[in-house]
Amino acid sequence: MAYPKTYRYTKDHEWIDVKGDVATIGITDHAQHELGDVVFVELPKPGAKIEAGKSFGTVESVKAVSEIYAPASGEVTEANGDLHNTPEKINSDPHGAAWLIKVRLANAAAVSSLMDAAAYEAYIAEKGKETSA
């Protein structure tokens, strides 16, 4: 699955798509692949504050429960309610329909320090080499 060029990416495998001062956040295709079948997702309520680098929710697969870390700081404006009944969308469309939350950013400029698509693809390729070695 291609990594959208307009998104930014974290080392913890989240993506962030900034439009003005509102950003959409999700987990990457690589992350969903590593997790396996997702069975549940726990997200913050609108109004909750999230902080860059801190956990804001969990994704539960048949193998494990993993934390989701915020790529940037801000206030949650919307959580993707569809995922409550159809968490498997995270496996099928992680970069689109299975977005997790929308956030009003505290500092939109800070996002530009995150990896772009090319840098993230290089990062996971490098990680893959480490694992196979």
Binding site: F40, E42, E60, S61, V62, K63, A64, V65, E67
Partner: protein
């Protein structure tokens, strides 16, 4: 699993494999001053005959011929030898946590049946595979409410078992939870007006017990309504499970925490017991501990597995839902066997006997001059009376007549000095109740 010690030859073999010359060399990193250089101070070794004699002597120290009117969270109920025979089967008695479904179907099915029975009894949708006991179950229920509401204030009825409240306070001490007590009204039930006054939109849970520590039956609906109006969760603790044979289950509760001791577990020295936690399906991911689930195997046959284990501490470490992951599988099995033997009708009949014998006992005790009933709300198998003198002094006199007297409420409740909590179950005979009434009358007539 066998528990056999290793032979000296096997020890040498293991030492050789890791490259150590002796046990001393293996432990060389432990400072000398911490190492035990003398033999353990234990008697023996004993021959088989001596061991049997030793235990016969200890068994002979058990008191016989006593009648107990002490309840207060632990209840003396009839038990069948069938329960013990089943739980003592090696497959159950020595089995480890059933992580491997392919070798644990019997244990997993028993846990699944336990969960089914507990959710039916408590009027909830889902119950877990058991907790340590009622007090930890109640505390875990509060922690669950804290996670679900993201609030940290907890209102606990003062009529909840004092030891359960102590366990909760211990947990709360360093966790940021604020525990406040709600007083009881003159009839012994939770003071609804005081509860409403304390409720704000920062309360995670309202915790009540029914029948409460004074034996009084609470009415759930107004309490649940008040809690829910403030967005708080309604947690019900139950110490005497047999009530559920007769009383309506607490279906208004968001979480039920119960002590399972009344279901086939002997009072012993206060344990081991089995805690129960039951709740709604929608809260299952915040439920502590493990659950057994029913599924189908690759050939379509019915089977059982542990589920939601990804949230337990052996996988999630410090981020686990709860740090009490050990359950009381064998005690839960005893409860399952006991309830299956009793059946719906049997449990109801047992409950009815508790109710009628306790009411008979109260009427007998009220005939004694100076004895008064303290709370006038309905009760099940425990009730509170006021004596004209210290309960502890009276109890020491009753003990001479082989009667274990009622619980002295003045210790945990200074405001209830001279009040005694009397427990009567189906095991108490009419003759024993009359003997108790006579002995109490005699004790009260003695000069102080």
């Amino acid at each position: 699993m066998r528990y056999l010690p290793k032979s000296p030859a096997e020890r040498q073999e293991m030492l050789a494999a890791i490259g150590a010359k002796s046990i001393d060399e293996l432990f060389s990193s432990i400072p000398e001053r911490f190492r035990l250089r003398e033999a353990l101070k234990i008697p023996g070794p004993y021959s088989e005959t001596e061991v049997i004699q030793y235990f016969k002597d200890r068994a002979a120290e058990n008191s016989v011929g006593y009648t107990s009117f002490l309840g207060a969270g632990v209840y003396n109920h009839l038990r069948s030898v069938v329960t013990d025979a089943i739980i003592q089967r090696g497959e159950f008695l020595t089995s480890y946590t059933p992580y491997q479904a392919e070798i644990s179907q019997g244990t997993l099915q028993a846990i699944f049946e336990f969960q089914t029975l507990m959710s039916q009894l408590t009027g909830q949708e889902v119950a877990n595979a058991s907790m340590y006991d009622g007090s930890t179950a109640m505390t875990e229920a509060v922690l669950m409410a804290e996670r679900l509401t993201s609030r940290q204030r907890v209102l606990v009825a003062r009529s909840v078992h004092p030891e359960y409240r102590d366990v909760l306070k211990t947990y709360a001490k360093n966790s940021g939870l604020h525990v406040e007590e709600i007083p009881f009204a003159t009839n012994g039930t939770v003071d609804l007006q005081k509860l409403k006054g304390a409720l704000k939109d920062d309360v995670a849970a309202v915790v009540v017990q029914s029948p409460n520590f004074f034996g009084v039956i609470e009415s759930y609906a107004p309490l649940a309504e008040a809690a829910h109006a403030s967005g708080a969760m309604f947690v019900v603790a139950i110490t005497e499970g047999v009530t559920l044979g007769l009383l309506r289950p607490p279906s208004e509760a968001d979480i039920v925490a119960m002590e399972g001791q009344s279901f086939g577990l002997a009072p012993s020295y206060g344990g081991p017991f089995a805690g129960v936690i039951a709740s709604r399906d929608k809260y299952v991911r915040q439920m502590p501990g493990r659950l057994a689930g029913q599924t189908t195997d690759s050939e379509g046959r019915r089977g059982f597995v542990l589920t939601l284990a990804t949230r337990e501490q052996h996988i999630r470490r410090e981020k686990a839902t709860s740090n009490i992951c050990t359950n009381q599988a064998l005690c839960a099995l005893a409860a399952t066997v006991h309830l299956t033997l009793l059946g719906k009708e049997g449990l109801r009949e047992m409950a009815e006997q508790n109710l009628s014998k306790a009411h008979f006992a109260l009427s007998e005790l009220l005939k004694i001059p100076g004895v008064k009933r303290t709370f006038d709300a309905p009760f099940f198998n425990e009730f509170t009376i006021e004596l004209p003198r210290s309960v502890k002094i009276v109890n020491s006199q009753l003990m001479h007549e082989k009667i274990v007297g009622p619980f002295a409420l003045g210790t945990p409740y200074p405001e209830l000095t001279k009040r005694a909590l009397v427990c009567v179950t189906e095991t108490t005979t009419r003759a024993e109740i009359e003997r108790f009434a006579g002995a109490l009358k005699g004790a009260l007539e003695q000069p102080v």
